[in-house]
Point group: D2
Chain length 317, copies 4
């Protein structure tokens, strides 16, 4: 699971909420703009833009765009909402990709990060498994595919512990080989807020840092390290055990006092030591992750290929 | 996941620990005996016997035997410890089965409870998948199997939500059909203590109550309801989110005061409502559950068949 | 995998084709009627009725109805055809169930036969995993479910080698316990014709005989053995290696001569001995079986519950 | 699934057998030597060396070494044979690797080819999942690992249809990045002989050509294309349907006549067209492939790390 920056909280929207919660009266940061849109009863989009160094420093996030789609945490029996989220995901992706892809023949490389053997971490590999893979078709049988279909290739490289290679090393060497105009990476995130689990998709043009490494030298995957534009799509799928413990403190209002920060960091350190490898996830995590992977894959498929709709996709997958 | 009785805490050893923690000085309950044995540096066995109604009432557990095997939570690279736990599991099972099986031809029915699609709940089905199944061999090709091999049959019936039938209904109707001399049920348990996750095997002759039902009418599986002796094997594989939150309170000593019980029940009720479907488990839950299932299956295989050793088992599985 | 009768060829439609192929001129059997319907360009239904003992003897099939739905072997990118097959499957099922179920509260027990660990044999368990399971809801929370929803329960019992119990023993004892008005069994079949693999659904009211047993005492599951009406749904998912070899002989017209029967039985015996455990299936058998299981589950769901349509189903599954 | 050269038959030993079968009297080819060793009742090793262009042309295989290990097709209940095959696999690998790796710190990159979603093709990805991955440990925590442990990294890149990238492109770009001294690739092969299915491991220093591509431009993975030595390990796991059909012809001695070649190619063309996507494999292909993957992974683990034995491996996996 990855983190978008060096802090514990992976989502820009969460970082902003925390700062706002700690302030009184109207809250604004120079260099950070936040726009919310209620797309429907079930879907909300928030666009956080970090425009200058002050904004980046205060929010603890690199300069760039952070789009958050909030959605229900289950789609069972709600095909309509599911399709709306797919389409919305495609539209938001397009706002970030369109200035990076000038031509229908520009290649895109998609990387699904995470460990496919750990359900809550398998989001990335699952997305890759539902993508329209077309680069080889464009190359070998161009006449048999629809116009508007763009060359897309993809890999689910595995994690450092299973490959022995930094994810960044793998993506970078494939980027040098394939020379895509855009790299999209997908990863499961860790959240500091249980309500965000499987309900929030963050799309950003600032890259991502895969987590879980041995040692501290986790290498960020972004346009600086790859040399081409990078869009990162992340979904919080787990919280760590310490986060739950802190939520317990909040529930009994223990930390309404000024000791808040002290208590929280103390609880975190205790839990990290004793229960560092425990994660919290819903019982039916397998089917929930499958559904969200499908939303993201459809969002990517629709946004990358001209004229492709939800009902066209299964001809290619 | 099941519970061995009506309280939140599934393990007799935990129930006893809690009572002892709440008392001062020497602690003993009339009708409850507790014997501990350090089998090795890595394995500890505790035998709790509930002998009379007073003991049952105080401990909140039916009259009977409760054997707890404590072991490491990982066996990676420790084949020796793994084999020791298998053998110890077989020996402890034998102390409970030997007076129930008088003849090498007495049939045993094993039921692996739980939902195979939820990793932490799949312990029972996984055990069934590694058992020596021999009833049909004894019946149709008796000459081709080793002497001492007992007729064993097994089922992983699924859970109420996937079958529409109470687990008790299924096991009872198969018991009437097959007429075993002993029924063994295996289920993943919920624990109130994170340290017990995947480190504790409880073996009891008092039966089990499968959990997770719709409505409140969960039917216990025991010698009363089935009409034949029942041995239940349970392993805590998850804790609920509320347990973690309470552990957080403990960590900051909030409930050192007399308010303890109040705080805990309040936190539990808040969490149940908001995060009722969240569970806490180790990241590598899949391989951990596979290993423990293998320990229990081997324990059952060795204990039920005369003269069968660890190295014989794979001829039959 | 099961067989519907004692001969090698599981499908009534195949048995009829073979007899017809061996005859000259107009072909008809007293006691057997065959009606074909081209439902669409992609779907064909054939209804074979065996009405008397002569028909049964000649066709080698018990008296009863045999409905065959022929469909494409892939649904990728053909959502419309997929939905048409689901609906057709529901309609044909209804013609066999409607006189057996008099009341919306009559319970149905569904049994998915086969070994879930062998992909081509996992059809039955997969169907069970996609059914609307409602018996417990009708019992415990009747007010929360739609009118017209019937009590349905289901089990995927496993095969003789993994349970030690005859499938018939398990289904019969559950039938005695649950007292359904109808039992539906689903099983993967073996076919003698490669073109039928994953393209043919047979629905019959004559029951089924699970295959693959040790010894010869495979017990048929039908209204005689269970005491309630039984509908069997079967799909050929594999052919054995010998069938391919015989197809090879056909391809080179070796058995255009009168030696046909001799050659075929000889080839079969040679292959059975050397390659008895080899099966032939499509490379992408996993996704094909998943799709067909979905068709059959939807067919059952729609046919059993009044007023339920394809889009309602996922609220219950 | 891959092929080691351009002909239908992937194994050098098979190519040699066919030529020998077609000749009379003593058979030998200039430039090809064949040495057989009966290692035990259950294990046979054949070493084919192609030494010059004449040998390569006649055998249809590049110049190099081809080691074939023949073993039983099941290890159930035969732990001893299983361990013997693991060790033998390690020893034979060592004969090919030892002159390529001069130093204990020379890095090895292992690539598991094939599609993990198709059981019979998942051999490569399964091997990778059981390897000791150590490159990152050597880099970040060198003090915590045993002496003699070599830096090993690995990837299961997927197939052209799921990545849009030639396997050769992926392996080559990772080779340029990681700069290993040796690349080992593992792939499932197609065989022309049913008796070889899951009984034969071929180890060669001549590389491999992944199969199943769109178009004809399958790129070979060997020391020429990668720029470092390549060892390929292949196991025939399936035969195509046409091979079975031809075996049927053989069984009835149809092609004892001179028409042999004609009949065979005709049967093949008919089958390719009608049943091109059908494969033949054992029913229990899943567990068989798992076992063989484990043999190969252990063989690689033992051969690459100094002083590592079977019982050490699980500390690292």
């Amino acid at each position: 699971m990855g983190v978008n920056n060096t802090s514990r909280c992976d989502l820009a929207i969460e970082a902003h909420e925390m700062l706002a919660a700690g302030s009184s009266g109207d809250f604004s940061i120079d260099g950070v703009s936040v726009v919310q849109e209620e797309v429907s009863q079930f879907i909300k989009v928030t666009r956080v833009a970090v425009d200058n160094d002050n904004g980046a420093r205060q929010l603890g996030k690199p300069i760039g765009s952070y789009i958050t789609i909030e959605m229900p945490n289950r789609f069972y029996g709600r095909q309509g909402i599911y399709e709306d989220v797919c389409k919305r995901c495609a539209e938001e992706l397009k706002t970030l990709t369109e200035n990076k892809l000038s031509d229908a023949d520009d290649t895109v490389l998609v990387a699904g990060l995470g460990n496919r053997r750990i359900t809550a971490d398998a989001l990335g590999p699952k997305v890759v498994g539902s993508l329209m893979i077309t680069r080889h078709l464009k190359r070998y049988i161009p006449d048999e595919i629809d116009e508007g279909v763009r060359p897309v290739c993809a890999i689910a490289p595995g994690v450092l512990g299973t490959t022995g290679m930094e994810t960044e090393e793998i993506i970078r060497s494939l980027t040098e080989e394939v020379k895509p105009k855009l790299v999209i990476v997908i990863d499961a995130l860790c959240s500091g807020n249980m309500d965000r689990i499987n309900t929030t998709i963050q799309i950003t043009d600032t890259g991502i840092t895969p987590g879980g490494g041995v040692g501290n030298k986790r290498k960020t995957i972004n346009s600086d390290t790859l040399g081409v534009p990078v869009i990162a799509i992340g979904v919080p799928t787990v919280v760590d055990a310490a986060t739950i413990a802190v939520a317990g403190l909040d529930a009994v209002s223990v930390n309404d006092t000024g000791d808040n920060a002290y208590e929280e960091s103390y609880v975190r350190s205790v839990f990290e030591e004793r229960f560092g490898n425990m994660i919290v996830a819903p019982k039916d995590v397998d089917s929930v992750i499958t559904d969200i992977a499908s939303v993201i894959a459809n969002g990517i498929n629709i946004s990358l290929h001209e004229g492709i709709t939800l009902s066209d996709i299964d001809r290619y997958v």
